[in-house]
């Protein structure tokens, strides 16, 4: 039995750890095109900004791979999966046979076509890998100005890292505000102000229609849709990320939004599993099959995949979309719907300076929340939304008044009631 993982981030790590709890001996090979042991991907911002040192990028001990008897092939690209031969084909043609395969290739930045933007233009980067942050740190020695196209989470995080090392940074966002998928007018204004107060400029409602280069083919600026011209020496493309399904192209492995997986994280091909940002699974909010690209989901799916790969039938029940980020001391947390879908849903908002709360209700249930400032009870709301639990008038009062202690106490009391004995899973 040979376990092979393509990818070496949270999902693959979860699978390795789950397998080794069950199967201590059979070989595991993990293959990654990045030349590092597993590192905290979301930390690349902090590494660039200087607040996280290199040794703290690694979230497992140095002997993790040897201790777990894992062969790590790092800095090696997988070209293709041959499902019929049950082999993974590496660049250069080497083939590695698998008995159980996990595809955990994560996401891949999406760069739309823009006039003047060719692969030959220098100093243009995406921002999802440590090497991207390293490239920025290098560019920052020579250049003083950066433009970040896209005001989503990755754009914000890239901006924060660049700003923290003294680069004059401007975010250009097509939507009406930063984090436009999650934030509304009020919270968007608070977030923008927080960015601006800390030195990051924001330009919203427009995007780059042309990329400008100098005589050395280095990026020198952009022309916006409204014909304004902004100068820069560094350009970051942060429009979005899509599941990185390159290795399963032309295979029978079914792909929709991401790689299709069932409740055991199996793909449509026997003995091939997928987990993390590359996989779609159940969105508990709407019942649809979607990609929820966050660390906790990647790790949890990896664990479930690993248990099933090692022969212990274990179910993944799905998750609600959610995210959490802090920008310059301002925590922002969203779970479920962040604005009402239609008139069958109802919003309630509570604004007090930089503290903002928004709840979305449907049929007497909480279906979404946005918290800014005080986020300390966010997990309780996640629990309510995920559980589709009916809210009593008392619970609604607690929500409205922000009585976080009462809400927490309620959940604790409820969970400590005796429950029927857990059913044992068939091995």
């Amino acid at each position: 039995m040979h376990y092979v993982m393509i990818g070496n981030s949270y999902a693959a790590l979860g699978a390795i750890e789950a397998i080794r709890q069950i199967d201590k001996t059979n070989p595991i090979t993990v293959i990654s095109d990045e030349p590092y042991p597993c590192y905290g991907r979301p930390l690349i911002t902090f590494w660039l900004g200087g607040t996280v040192k290199t040794e703290h990028m690694f979230y497992r001990p140095d002997d993790f791979y040897t201790h777990n008897q894992v062969t790590a092939l790092t800095g090696v690209r997988v070209e293709h999966v041959d499902c019929e031969a049950r082999q993974v084909i590496l660049e250069g043609g080497r083939r590695i046979a698998y008995d159980r395969l996990l595809i955990a290739t994560g996401g891949k930045p999406f760069v739309p076509p823009i006039a003047g933007l060719t692969p030959e233009v220098k100093n243009v980067h995406t921002f999802t890998r440590w090497d991207d942050a390293k490239a920025m740190a290098e560019l920052a020695k020579k250049h003083r100005k950066a433009i970040v196209i896209g005001g989503g989470l990755i754009g914000l995080k890239a901006s924060e890292g660049l700003n923290d090392i003294g680069i004059d940074t401007t975010i250009v966002e097509l939507g009406p505000r930063v984090l436009s998928l999650a934030l509304d007018e009020y919270s968007g204004r608070v977030a923008s102000k927080r960015l601006n107060d800390n030195g990051i400029k924001t330009v919203t409602g427009t995007t780059a229609k042309q990329i400008l280069v100098n005589a050395d083919n280095e990026v020198s600026g952009v022309i916006l849709n409204d014909d304004r011209q902004l100068d820069c020496g560094i350009l970051v493309m942060a429009i979005g990320v899509r599941p990185n399904v390159d290795v399963v192209k032309d295979t029978p492995i079914k792909v929709e939004r991401g790689i299709v997986t069932d409740s055991r994280m199996r793909t449509s091909v026997a003995d091939v599993y997928a987990a993390g940002d590359v996989a779609q699974n159940t969105n508990l909010l709407n019942g649809r099959q979607e990609v929820i690209a966050i660390v906790p989901v990647a790790y949890a799916q990896g664990r479930v995949a690993g248990r099933n790969m090692a022969g212990r039938s274990t179910e993944y029940k799905g998750e609600i979309p959610m995210n959490s980020v802090e920008i310059y001391g301002l925590p922002i947390m969203s779970m479920g719907y962040t604005s009402k879908l239609d008139d069958s849903q109802r919003e309630e908002t509570f604004a007090d300076g930089d503290n903002y709360r928004k709840y979305v209700f449907a049929d007497g249930r909480l279906v979404g929340a946005l918290l800014m400032g005080n986020v300390d009870y966010g997990g309780v709301l996640t629990h309510f939304i995920r559980g589709k639990r009916h809210l009593s008038p008392m619970m609604l009062d607690w929500l409205r008044s922000g009585d976080t202690l009462a809400l927490s106490a309620f959940v604790i009391a409820e969970s400590s009631r005796p429950r029927p004995a857990a059913q044992t899973q068939p091995a």
Binding site: T314, D376, G378, S408
Partner: protein, 86 residues
């Protein structure tokens, strides 16, 4: 809890159904690090806050190991070259 590893993303707060994780305010009024008062979801195979922790600041530990580590650290402070000033 490795406080020096916490970057303040609050993913653990988002995943804790009990509201048992609180942000710790610093003297400057900013929040840094998290406080835990919990039984670590004993019935769960995957502990949600630990699964959510990006830099591995949160990890499952054995109380005996932690206790001996703390005692070792305390002893080292008073060892020659330590910064303890009894």
């Amino acid at each position: 809890m490795g406080y020096e590893r916490c970057v303040g993303c609050w993913m653990c707060v988002m995943m804790c159904p009990f509201g048992a994780i609180q942000r710790i305010p610093t003297a400057e009024g900013e929040h840094h690090g998290v406080a835990l008062k919990c039984d670590s979801c004993l019935d769960k195979e995957i502990v949600p806050c630990i699964a959510a922790c990006k830099p591995h600041g949160l990890k499952e530990v054995n109380p005996i190991d932690v206790s001996s580590l703390k005692r070792l650290q305390a002893a080292q402070r008073f060892a020659p070259g330590g910064d303890g000033k009894p």
